[in-house]
Amino acid sequence: MLDKSLTEFLEHRVAIHIGTRDDAMRPNGCRVTGVRVEDQGRHLVAYLPKAATPAVLDDLRSNGQAALSFARPTDDRAVQVKGEFISVRDADASEEAFVLDQWRSLIGELDAIGLAALTSTNTWLMWPCVAVKIRVTAIFSQTPGPEAGAVLS
């Protein structure tokens, strides 16, 4: 379960990706614009750009397995959340500000370490999104180093 401290980390200033796999055990993945932690940390909603590869949604519908990686650029603190797919829907306009605020907070992090080229000429298609609801099954530390992979919850 995602506690308050982890929720705070996942919803601010982090680069997020979701990994899936197809039925032939080939990995797929795409960027995630933002997440919202729900149900006292038992679920999260991942906002995937609609422009992202359809393979990820196909995989989720097919086998439900998901891995979400969260990394903060300024100190490389990273967390991985494993989960199972529950549902997908179009994200609505009322969610846009919440999601894009997260995205902008990541841009601020990138600016802080001098990756201005990425942030000043952003052409990426991070909205509109689909909202993918995922049940959290495990949480791991992923910060680089000998402790990477340790179970957090």
Partner: protein, 454 residues
């Protein structure tokens, strides 16, 4: 099969982090950041294996992976479908990745823990544009990608060569090299370190573009990019130093939390926050003469082509420097003619103390210089006090057994140059001034109190 990986080489500089997707045998996916993806050839990439993490375990079970990289030139994302082929623990690919990681580990005080275990080689099965990460269009017209800046043109190399040829002393030669690198190639921050008196050390002899010259600053072999270049005698280019350091510091923090004690950090002898560094060994017939280091605050300032060209340039510089060292060592002193510089009547008095046991000279209580240059300075000052003489020759120093110069390749001229630079930076009114071939004068602009400490 050509996948056009050559067109994506900017993606493999480590400037922007890459994402690595794998899947275990039981079907659990994994997503992890990678510090670096290295280009191997048109159909292969290499990933650094530093820690036994989940990604590595997954690959052992299921060789298929997906890696996403970003082109720093235009922000286009690319997805590469990979299949693991082999791990290499030696050879040119491993060595290149090893040196880069070791240099970063050295800065972070992480040598030994932040270490490349293997270079994992993957076949690239396909390359696709990432649809949610389109790049700027101007870089993706019919011409494809931009060419690296053509800084190392034949014209620039010829001009630098002409300037070097005109130099008639080691001092002039080093200055002409560094000024030429700025003028002709556009690199504002550079330094040259030559072999130090102690084994496996380098000492900064000339620099350009830094507020403090740093003459005399020593680097041990294996320390930072300069020390790694010296140890490996291979050029090293780091484009994404900021990213690499952040990754290393994250690993360090975790290791410290587990009770690991860090080594003392190596202070960077140059820019406070260099984003790109290029270190080139200066080698003649297998002998390391020194290292040329160029820095930039711009990420991805040096391209692979830069490294290759400047490595060639390094060979020429090494020969020129060594030839000049040999020439100066063999020069007969010019006939005395100039009168001794007059002592200034500034009224100022400075204290110079010599610590024979440590072979260190202090100026007004601050460290000035040590080892052979310190012994030389003390000798000159004592002779001047005793005999009133201000002119000296390199030859008399070379014949002076009390200075303890080695019989072979004493590098006296290099040490004198270092002493001159150090005095110019730190003393100001105590100077050594060349007054002819193999001859120099001690110039004192103040009264001096000499103290020998036991």
């Amino acid at each position: 099969m050509s996948l056009g990986l050559e067109q994506l080489t900017p993606c493999f500089q480590g400037i922007l982090p890459s994402m690595f997707f794998t899947c275990s045998r039981d079907g659990t996916p994994n997503a992890a950041f990678l510090s670096h993806v290295d280009y191997v050839d048109a159909t292969h990439v290499a990933l650094s294996f530093q820690f036994f993490n989940k990604s590595r375990r997954n690959i052992a079970e299921n060789p298929y992976a997906l890696v996403r990289v970003i082109d720093p030139d235009n922000n286009q994302g690319w997805a590469l479908r990979l299949k693991f082929e082999r791990s290499e623990t030696s050879g040119p690919i491993f060595d290149r990745m090893f040196l880069r990681i070791e240099a970063i580990a050295s800065y972070a005080g992480l040598k030994g823990i932040f270490k490349l275990k293997a270079a994992d080689i993957y076949l690239v099965e396909s390359v696709e544009q990432v649809s949610e990460e389109p790049g700027r269009q101007e870089r993706w017209s019919t011409s494809g990608r931009r060419q690296p800046d053509a800084v190392f043109t034949m014209k620039a190399l010829q001009e630098l060569s002409a300037r070097m040829t005109a130099a008639d002393s080691l001092d002039q030669l080093l200055q002409s090299i560094l000024s030429g690198i700025k003028e002709y190639f556009g690199f504002s921050h550079s330094m040259i370190l030559l072999a130090g008196e102690k084994p496996n050390t380098l000492v900064t002899i000339a620099s350009r573009g830094y507020p403090q010259g740093g003459a005399g600053a020593e680097v041990q072999f294996g320390e930072g990019i300069i020390g790694m270049v010296a140890e490996a005698r291979q050029p090293i280019r780091i484009s994404g130093l900021v990213r690499g350091m952040l990754y290393a510091y994250a690993a360090k923090k975790r290791a410290e939390e587990r009770g690991w004690r860090p080594q003392e950090e190596v202070r960077l002898p140059g820019l406070e926050n260099p984003a790109s560094q290029l270190g080139v060994p200066l080698v003649v017939r297998g002998e390391l003469v020194g290292v040329l280091c160029i820095e930039s605050e711009t990420p991805y300032r040096f391209h692979e082509e830069d490294k290759n060209t400047i490595a060639l340039l390094g060979a020429s510089l090494a020969i020129a420097i060594q030839n000049m060292q040999l020439k100066e060592a063999g020069d007969e002193p010019a006939a005395a003619g100039a009168s001794a510089p007059a002592k200034s009547a500034s009224g100022k008095k400075r204290q110079i103390a010599y610590y024979p046991r440590e072979e260190v000279v202090m100026l007004d209580g601050d460290y000035l210089i040590r080892s052979l240059p310190a012994r030389i300075l003390w000798k000159l000052l004592q002779t001047h006090k005793r005999e009133g003489r201000a002119e000296f020759t390199n030859r008399e120093l070379r014949l002076d057994k009390s200075l303890g110069l080695p019989d072979f390749k004493d590098n006296l001229e290099t040490r004198l140059l270092l002493l001159r630079r150090r005095l110019d930076e730190k003393a100001g009114d105590v100077r050594i001034v060349p007054i002819g071939r193999g001859r120099f004068a001690l110039e004192l602009g103040c009264a001096i109190e000499l103290i020998e400490k036991s």
